[in-house]
Symmetry: C2
Amino acid sequence: MTERDSDIPETAAARPAQTAPVVAVVLAAGFGTRFDPDNPKQLVSVGGKPIVCWSIEAFEHCGRVSDIVVVVNPKVRSAVESLIDDMGYTKVRVIIDGGAERVDSTAAALDTLAAAGIPDDAKILIHDAVRPFVEQSSIEGSIDALDQFTAATVAYASTDTVLLTEDLGDVKVVKSVPDRPNTFRAQTPQSFRFATIRRAYELAASDPDFHPTDDTRVVVDYLPDEPVAIVSGSETNLKITTLEDVPTAEHIAEEIQGRDPKEEARARMHALLAQAAGQMR
Amino acid sequence: MTERDSDIPETAAARPAQTAPVVAVVLAAGFGTRFDPDNPKQLVSVGGKPIVCWSIEAFEHCGRVSDIVVVVNPKVRSAVESLIDDMGYTKVRVIIDGGAERVDSTAAALDTLAAAGIPDDAKILIHDAVRPFVEQSSIEGSIDALDQFTAATVAYASTDTVLLTEDLGDVKVVKSVPDRPNTFRAQTPQSFRFATIRRAYELAASDPDFHPTDDTRVVVDYLPDEPVAIVSGSETNLKITTLEDVPTAEHIAEEIQGRDPKEEARARMHALLAQAAGQMR
């Protein structure tokens, strides 16, 4: 673990309870086994900017996010550190080493936050670095949802019918077809009050058979009485999984970068006003 | 119903049982309420060709498909008829009127096939016209799957974690998170031995509360002892649902049209050889 700024405990823990810190955890530790092994996908550029920078900036630019934790693997650590320095991000407090699986990376981040004395009511937004185009409205929606729920996830309504399958010999066959309005594709950020995600992970840690690929599932399976709210995602908040996703990502980057600057300014103004309104509550 | 060729009963029903007819049903009856109401989505051109033509051609070009039935709504009937005449498709036997919902359109097609004396073991491939880029391998895979199963559906493994939700007041919350390897996104064609889909629809028709959006579900829910096999789909076999899908569709059309003609010729040769091998069995 590399402390980038020794004052996390103070900035995060010293605030009054009514303005809980909002911490974004950007998971950039995946080795991308389905991607080009010589070119880690977090570092691939789309629209002229490395994917990990898009993701960090989504939270850097959200006025309600107070701190950012970036989780890396040792292979990309120095590259990510240089990028963060070069780009001058001001909210990145710490870069920590992730683990072998996704849950190990989340667990490492939670341990770091606990050691930093983060309060139980802090809002933790866990985001996959390889979803570079998360919308500000999804981040804002996640922060808002935690006023009513202890857990929330950005998700996008499935336009295709979802099939749940089982194995019949070496063939997959359909087991059931859930009602389409109740099927969503999980995206990130997945957001939690700190005490909730911490408790869920403690329970999961004592179960050696549990290897979730998703933080929401840890809460759903281990704290079944805590409802997890759905926050609206978007088609463009895609996960860059394989090289085949790069052209689509370039296309989205182009659309975003080509947006009318006046429109952008209006959106920023709107976000600032919403933030100001939030502070006045 | 417009009979385009009075010999369907003969071509379809008169073959020996070991070479069951393979009938593609192309559903082009949707009104596309999420689309431009003045420009039915089946008729929108991508890559310079109307979407419905891409879908018909997918089956026209598959040597193992014997007959094509096109289901339309009255609003597009004359446009679709003209297109089929102009393009000179040779396998389109009949164009019939669909119903208010998707299942009504499938039911209308099944009634037509029954009236035409189609045998119980005919292989029926039901395809959404708004999935113009179905791969030949998915069509071939569907036909093959029906040698072992009475029902099959093309589907694509979900790369995103799927969330099953329920309503909590006016908020959707997560009910369960199925294991990702057992979650698929249904595509089409969905394929059935004629007797199986006919029986499933008869059972569903007597249940006034049942309004499936998917043919596979009719079999899964009403004939639970008949396993439905998963056939490999593709990311490009997308459903064009809204105007926002058109740029992606244009991009895919461009890729397909830009393919190396030598490579295409090799693929066609390969398909012909596979077909010849099938006939020699």
